[in-house]
Amino acid sequence: MLEVRDLRVSFHTEQGLMQAVDGVSFDVKEGEILGVVGESGSGKTVSLLAVMGLISDPNAVITGSIRYRGRELVGLPPRDMRKLRGREIAMIFQDPMTALTPVYTIGWQIAEQIMAHEKIGKAAARTRAIDLLAEVNMSDPAEAVDRYPHQLSGGMRQRAVIAMALSCNPALLVADEPTTALDVTVQAQILDLMRKLQRNHKSAVVFITHDMGVIAEIADRVMVMYAGRIVESGSKRDLFLDPRHPYTRALLDSIPPLAGKRPRRLRSIPGSPPSLLDRPAGCSFGPRCPKRFDRCAAQPALTGASHAAACFLVAPP
């Protein structure tokens, strides 16, 4: 239901043109959970912000095609995009501590979203808000609805944010690192909650994270991004059992294991991600890749059907 083709997002900066997203294409099917993995600078957040139309920087240049249920979003007038945002496509962000306006109660803020998109009165919107808070396992929803954000803990705030995002029953929810800022025990609760909600609402979820463990827990399909490009995509099983791109493999190797033998040294990736200004031609991972060879001077395309990798070592089907 979401088709992204050759999305490119660049920013004009003082130092030149910064290519944050460089030719990204992917699909999101109805009801599935797509995990987007990458480190800082990989372009994972910027790509999804472009899908949401939330890039307000006047120096940004967005090209390519983003089709939501057949409708082209790139170039859509802001008024129409606003009707979609919050209603059909919702987004939640990383830090729950600053995500809500401090001077309004959470009930007011949830009701605000509902009333912005549906013709519904204040009282009815408030009742909906209470129901939503109950659904996200907020303790005592009828009381919580009148609380201010600062009166809630991080986990509870994130639940309120999730409730708000799902208030208009969107078909697609984009979650940008929603659990990164939370304690690990709270993270577990939120992940469980998101899985349950996704089943009940049948919405598709794009889950952005840097944590491969979280991906293993929650995603159906996975997309790995590096330096603004997709380097590998496939089902969760494909990715974890048969990682094809050297970066994916290296990423998995560099995580210290929680069980089993403790390695003497972690397998780390030497160097650091490339600058996004004036990118050299060729595979973006090339300079750090242990398997680099002469063909890597050219940019590899994503090859493969359901399990694809952008690497010349992957034999075309």
Partner: protein, 325 residues
Amino acid sequence: MSETPLLEAVEVSKRFTVGSRFSVRGRHIVHAVDAVSLAVRPGEPVGLVGEAGCGTSTLGRCMVRLYDITSGTLRFNGVDISGKSMREMRPLRKEVQMVFQDPYASLNPRRRVRDIIAEPLRVHSKLPGEAIKTRVAELLDLVGLHRDHAMRFPHEFSGGQRQRIGIARAIALAPKLIVLDEPVSALDVSVQAQIVNLLADLQERLKLTYVFIAHDLSVVRQVSTRIAVMYLGSIVELGRAEDIFARPAHPYTQALISAVPVPDITKSGSRSRIVLSGDVPTPVNPPSGCRFHPRCPMAQDRCRTERPVLSPPDGGRRVACHFPL
């Protein structure tokens, strides 16, 4: 085992007073660290694990005497440092150093790298300028940075590189003990691995002992020989890292380990997940009895009224629980 511990905390507590009698909410006492006893032996890195508000950061700072402790005893190499004034502590600063969490905030942005690293040398050693310059270059090599980087400013570096600068500063005076407060949490996974490896190398080469504070269990397991799990200011479990991860004895430790998402799909389906209810409480008004009882899946009456103490050492393992697993 009978050698003097490098750092020893005996019933150390740190309380903060928030507010005053006249403020709207009145006065509160935050029991950030509550009667913690821990010994750090040379060459045996200790990991301190816990979630927000558990007191690990505060304990770390108390160990380095960045904070004064409210009660208890702190000994470094057998010498009691609990009551020493800042002046008396100065010579000891050469032996105990700290690396902080936020690589973006812990380096003075107006200073060049060379000056940041040289500062401890200028303050504590009597080395002449040239010797300091050489040492700075050596330190940069040791942490994997270019010698030319000495003239640059922190903002010109990435998070991982900044953390290396912080480490270079910490090892400048060849300390015996380094307390690292979440040194890799703000870094990307691949960079984390680099820094963890660097720390392991330095530990070997420079005979360092670490106290490693982190909330990321996999990183803590990688780095530590012994681990102390903290909850609301007290240690709930203490022991060798492999033992704790293989067979956690405290329900909180068990829940903590099971909550960590592992990048391994063969395991994630079959793992019995313990999802704790409720949020991590604040240390302002701790629950009665065992601090963990409101969230503990196996809490019983005794847990509500009687506070468990750390059991006597049993093969190096200590648990504070009435009904350990």
